[in-house]
Homo-oligomer: 240 residues x 2
């Protein structure tokens, strides 16, 4: 049986591309984003009462993974990228139905001149992610601290120290509000977002991760993520 669903909202996030996005929500609590309801769902009434909740569920579409063939097994990054587990035993975006599920903190609700926006944080969501549903998080039902968890029983420890080279430091300090981008760079790079299969084989490779409107260029040396420079990704006014 097939079912058709409609986008009710869209995510605006500092993550402009897949690379570097935290692998679970909450891991990078610094990451703030916006969920904007789209017409005809942009009704302030539809979110009335949601302000009583500190956290919400977002059910969304991994929109870059639609129309892909599904595979019964996947290689989770937490297992080093070379051990396979069943797709339903993983949170991989490559699923038979590419529906994602994230719990995020609800910081504020803004209803202004036809716009209805939820300000959220701790997101692992990419810019432009289509949202299918929003639900309140109900701790007495959904908080199960004693639940047994397979291959990822606890949050991953930071893997890298993050260091900005003098040129990158200078660029950052010339911004109006450097602290937001600094925190995000540190939080994202300390998790070592390099693909698991690269590892030590290409020690000098320079990576670029787009955060807000900046292309952050970095490489790894001696367990340190070295930020080389920040390149303006677009001709739009720099953010943050």
């Amino acid at each position: 049986m097939k079912f058709e669903f409609e986008t009710i909202g869209v995510i605006h996030s500092p993550f402009k591309e897949k690379f570097g996005i935290p692998r679970q929500p909450g891991l990078v609590s610094q990451v703030q984003a916006t969920l904007e309801l789209v017409p005809p769902f942009n009704r302030p009434k539809a979110v009335s009462g949601l302000e009583g909740y500190s956290h919400i569920w977002i059910q969304f579409v991994f929109h870059q993974n639609i129309n892909r063939d599904w595979q019964p097994t996947v290689r989770p990054p937490r297992l080093g990228g070379n051990k396979r587990v069943g797709v339903f035993a993983s949170r991989s975006p490559f699923r038979p139905n590419p529906i994602g599920l994230s719990v995020v903190a609800l910081d504020d609700i803004r209803c202004d001149s036809g716009k209805v926006e939820l300000l959220i944080s701790g997101v692992d969501l990419m810019e432009g992610t289509p949202v299918l549903d929003i639900k309140p998080y109900i701790p007495y039902v959904e908080s199960l601290p004693e639940a047994r968890s397979g291959f990822a029983p606890s949050a991953p420890a930071p893997k890298l120290v993050v260091h900005l080279t003098p040129p990158a430091e200078k660029q950052l300090e010339s911004m109006l509000d450097p602290s937001k981008l600094r925190k995000l760079i540190e939080a994202v790079l300390e998790t070592d977002p390099r693909p698991a299969y690269v590892g030590a084989s290409r020690p000098d490779k320079v990576y670029g991760i787009r955060l807000y409107d900046w292309d952050v260029r970095w490489r790894v040396r001696d367990l340190t993520a070295e930020v080389l420079e920040l390149v303006e990704a677009q001709l739009k006014p720099g953010k943050p």
Copy 2:
């Protein structure tokens, strides 16, 4: 934007109709059910590794509520059925996209002669519910005991004492395994599943709730749910 998704599994549950289904998962932990993967998703590999998790998320379709118009507000039963809140601040099945989300206990996985079945408990799911996705529950991300919860901060207290009349008691005791049905009857009726708007206005009304293959007939008197009789709902062999 619209997206189409396919059924990957189907629920087999003692709840054969909507009336009487617990309003959240986990409220009636006695309720056991089965999630059966449907072709081409019935591959044992697709659930390999899931046995390491005690709980799973089920994303499913409220299939009796598709093609309904959505309303920006709903009346949650927990507020007595007369106060309205935004549909996205509720877990109501009447949503713009009728996608449900339940955490359930995973008791066992059975892969046998082409069938792949997950044995689950604590369900609030009706017989025949189409499943869109299964994901492991990850406590270090999803267990948030300190989360603030709006109008339903804790589990509802039992509202009714459950009493079986002598004829109902006799019928129950004549069954092969009466304890499963007895526990389910008690767990379901003590929550007072009557619609909130009925209340005291029709004190003598007799209700029927279908559990397994039995139509359980009951009424409420003096805060007691009085079970009058058990009627075999079908000519199939009686269960449990």
